[in-house]
Symmetry: C2
Subunit: 131 residues, 2 copies
């Protein structure tokens, strides 16, 4: 690499963090709730084949609520990457997760559009641009 | 949800194809070149942790050019999803791949920003909005 001044190095490189990651390596990254509690870890990403944009994330919660391992699909729109901890924060809390769509390891649904809409509806995300 | 007429159902649902897919299930999907030839299959997706957008794809080519299995990173911007065949078409051909960044199974690079830039530069993708 040629000599580069700090001004030429994008911020993410200067602070030593890469922002690109293999999709499979996202598994296991921690997800914290609005109050800072750890809600679980990322199990899978579900994305749109056309756009290459993540639509929702399957959150794995081990022993959450004392019920053993469970999985919660959560819309990507609620995710924010926290660079310092290399983890994610979501704008929801445990209470909201309690009644949310979820499934057990042995009964995974088909992650299609209709399931995606159920997830989006539960979290009451506004349609694009609407309030 | 209330009763929906067909007009309210997004096209992708009406024609019976799901556009959402687990990131891990993308592996093995066929990738065809500009001339229709099969260039290989998808091995991995590399995405941006902040935006959840795929940045580039690792294409696996078995025996391509008679050199055994090799891997080529290709910018997502060149990918177009072909619904009929449930595969991808890229706006490049075999000749362009010949001199492109690539690696062998036993010498995978770090898929970071600098590698991403090398890939983007090779395919001469214009910066956002520029010609």
């Amino acid at each position: 690499m040629a000599v580069a001044t700090n001004a030429e190095i994008p911020i993410e490189t200067a602070i030593g963090t890469t922002m690109l990651i293999c999709a499979e390596d996202v598994r296991g990254m921690a997800v914290h709730g609005r109050d800072g509690d750890k809600l679980g870890t990322i199990d899978k990403l579900v994305l749109d084949k056309r756009t290459g944009q993540v639509a929702y994330v399957i959150l794995s919660s081990g022993g959450f609520l004392g019920l053993g391992q469970s999985y919660h699909p959560i819309p990507w729109a609620t995710f924010r990457y926290e660079e310092k901890q290399d983890s994610y924060a979501v704008a929801i809390d445990k209470r909201l997760l309690e009644g949310a769509p979820s499934f057990r390891p042995d009964s995974a649904p088909v992650f299609d559009e209709s399931y995606g809409r159920r997830v989006t509806d539960y979290y009451r995300l506004p349609p694009d641009g609407a309030a």
